[in-house]
Symmetry: C2
Subunit: 309 residues, 2 copies
C-alpha cells in the first residue's frame, strides 16, 4: 500500500511538472492551487460551450454562483458531518487599531496571527449546487419540475501533488428539482449522456459507483451505504495515472435530502427530490490534454470540430 | 452625515430589491453575495470579449487565477497592514474523530464551532494581480516588459446593502511589469483607453484620484499620501446612487512595491515597476443595466453592436 502510494505520488509529481513546464498550469506555491494558461482556459471555455449546446433542449434556467455561500446554508447541508476535513471557513479581522497593531506584530514575529480573526458569514462553496437550494427554499415546483444550469468554483481542502486533485476548481452542473421519478430520470439521462458526450471527444470514460471519502468511522458506514444505494455514479478517465482513474464527472440523486431541509415541495405536496450531473471543468481539460496531447491544434479533427476549436 | 447615510442606504436597498425582483441577482442570504442570472452573466461575458478585443494589440499573456492565493504570498503584500478588515482567511478542520464529534456537538448546540479550525495554506484573493507577482518572482524581464491579461474572483469583507459593493466579484486586469517608464505609460494609456471604451458603451464615466479605505489612523496618513502621489485613478459612474458614484474601473501604478518584494528585475538590474488597469465586471454590468435598463434587447444599437449582443 505504501509502495503503491509512493509510485502514484511519483506519477502525480511527474505529470504536474510536465504541465507546469509546458506553462499550462502556473504554480501558486500551494499544492492543488494553480493559475491556468490562456490555452488551458480556452479548452475549458470550449468544453462549456459544448455542454451548453448539449443541454439546450432542456431550456434550463442559468445561475452563476460565486465561490462563497452563506455559513447558515452550509450548516443546513450535512457537509460538516460528512466532509469536515474538506471545508473552507472564511475568517476576517474585525478588531480596533490596538488589535490591529498586535495582529501585525504577531505576523512580523512569525507567530500564529490568525487566532483572533472572527468567522465571517460565508464559507467556500463545497459543491456547485449547494447555493441553489436556499434560493429555492419554501417554494412549490411547477409540474414539470425545474432544471438549472450552474457553474461555480468549489473548494476541497485536500492538498495533493496530483494535478487533477485541485483544492479549488469549477463544476458545471445541470440540476433538477422535481418528483422522485423526475430526479432519477435526470440522473440516469445525464449519466448516459455524459458518457456519450465525453466519449465523443475521444475520452475513455466508464461509469463506476461513487466512493466518496466520508470522514472517520461513521464515514465508513456512509461509504458502504452510498455503494449499496447506488445513488451516485462517476465517470472516470486516466489523467496523471492510468492505473488509478480520476472522476471527471458525476451524476447523483440526492433523494429528498435537500427538498426536506429547504422545504421545497412538488405540486402534490411531497418534498422535492433533486439530482445533478457535475462536470469537473479542470479535470476534463486535463483528461483531454492527457489523451490528445498538449497542443489542441494536433487533436483529432472530430474532437476539434465538436469543441469548435 | 447620518441622514445622508440613511438616504444612501435606502437608495441601495431599493436598487438591490429591483435587481433581485427582476431575477438579475439571486439572494444568498448574505449582503453582497449573490448568484447572477444567465442574462447578467451574458453581459459580463460580452464585456469581457469587448475588453479582449481592445487589448489584443498588446498580445498579452493570459492567466486565470482561482479565488485563492497562498497565505505566504498574502503576507508578502502589505494587505494585512493596510486593509486587514477586508481580508478572507481560509480555515479548515484537521482534527481526529473525537474532535469531530465535539465540533458537530457545538454546531448542534448553536455554540461557536469554528474555534478549533486551523488556518489553511490559502487566503481569498484580495486583488486579481496579487497571485501574479510570486509567479514572476526572481526573474529578469525582457526589454519590452511583460503584459499579462488576468481575471479572478476577489474578496472584500465589507457586507453592504449596496448591490455594487459585493463581497466577492471578478476583476479583469491588464498588468504590466517593466521599467518605471513602461509602468507609468501603461497606467496612463489604460486610464484614457478605459474611459474611452466605457464611454463608447454609453456610460458616463469620469476619472478621479482613488481614495482607498485604508484601515485605522495609519490608514488616514496612507490615504493622504495616495491622494498626493496620484498613482491610482478610478473611473466612476452612477449605479445605485446618482449622488455617490461607484468606481467601476481603476488604473494604478505600484512603483517598485511588488518588484522589490518579489525580486523582479528589469534588464538593467533595477527592481521592476508594475501597473494595472482593473475592470470590475459585476459593477460594469450593473452600470450598464442602470444606464440602459434591465433588457439588453432595448439598449442603444451602438452599445449592442460594440458588445456584439
Amino acid at each position: 500500500m505504501c509502495l503503491s502510494h509512493a509510485v502514484l505520488d511519483d506519477d502525480y509529481r511527474q505529470y504536474q511538472q510536465a504541465l507546469l513546464g509546458a506553462g499550462l498550469l502556473v504554480s501558486s506555491g500551494v499544492p492543488g492551487v494553480y493559475g491556468l494558461s490562456g490555452l488551458f482556459e480556452g479548452i475549458v471555455e470550449a468544453f462549456e460551450r459544448y455542454v451548453t449546446r448539449m443541454g439546450q433542449h432542456l431550456t434550463p434556467e442559468v445561475i452563476r454562483f460565486p465561490p462563497l455561500l452563506s455559513r447558515e446554508t452550509y450548516l443546513r447541508t450535512d457537509h460538516i458531518e460528512t466532509f469536515p476535513d474538506l471545508m473552507g471557513s472564511v475568517h476576517s479581522f474585525v478588531g480596533n487599531e490596538g488589535d490591529h497593531l498586535r495582529l501585525v506584530q504577531k505576523k512580523e514575529n512569525g507567530e500564529a496571527w490568525t487566532e483572533n480573526l472572527e468567522p465571517t458569514d460565508v464559507m467556500l462553496v463545497p459543491a456547485a449546487c449547494y447555493p441553489l437550494y436556499p434560493a429555492a427554499a419554501n417554494t412549490t415546483l411547477p409540474e414539470e419540475g425545474r432544471v438549472v444550469d450552474l457553474r461555480a468554483f468549489v473548494f476541497r481542502h485536500e492538498p495533493s501533488p496530483d494535478p487533477a486533485r485541485m483544492q479549488t476548481f469549477r463544476q458545471r452542473e445541470y440540476v433538477t428539482l422535481g418528483t422522485a421519478e423526475q430526479a432519477l430520470a435526470h440522473r440516469d439521462y445525464w449519466l448516459k449522456r455524459g458518457e456519450e458526450l465525453l466519449g465523443a471527444l475521444g475520452l475513455d470514460v466508464k461509469p463506476v459507483i461513487a466512493n466518496d471519502p466520508f470522514f472517520g468511522r461513521g464515514g465508513r458506514v456512509m461509504a458502504a451505504t452510498q455503494k449499496e444505494q447506488a445513488l451516485k455514479y462517476e465517470l472516470v478517465a486516466p489523467i496523471a495515472s492510468t492505473e488509478k482513474l480520476t472522476a471527471i464527472s458525476s451524476s447523483n440523486c440526492h433523494l429528498d435530502h435537500f427538498g426536506r431541509e429547504f422545504n421545497i415541495k412538488t405540486p402534490d405536496g411531497q418534498f422535492a427530490h433533486t439530482a445533478c450531473i457535475g462536470f469537473g471543468l479542470e479535470r476534463i481539460t486535463l483528461a483531454l490534454l492527457k489523451k490528445h496531447g498538449f497542443d489542441p491544434a494536433t487533436w483529432p479533427s472530430e474532437t476539434r470540430s465538436l469543441l469548435e476549436i
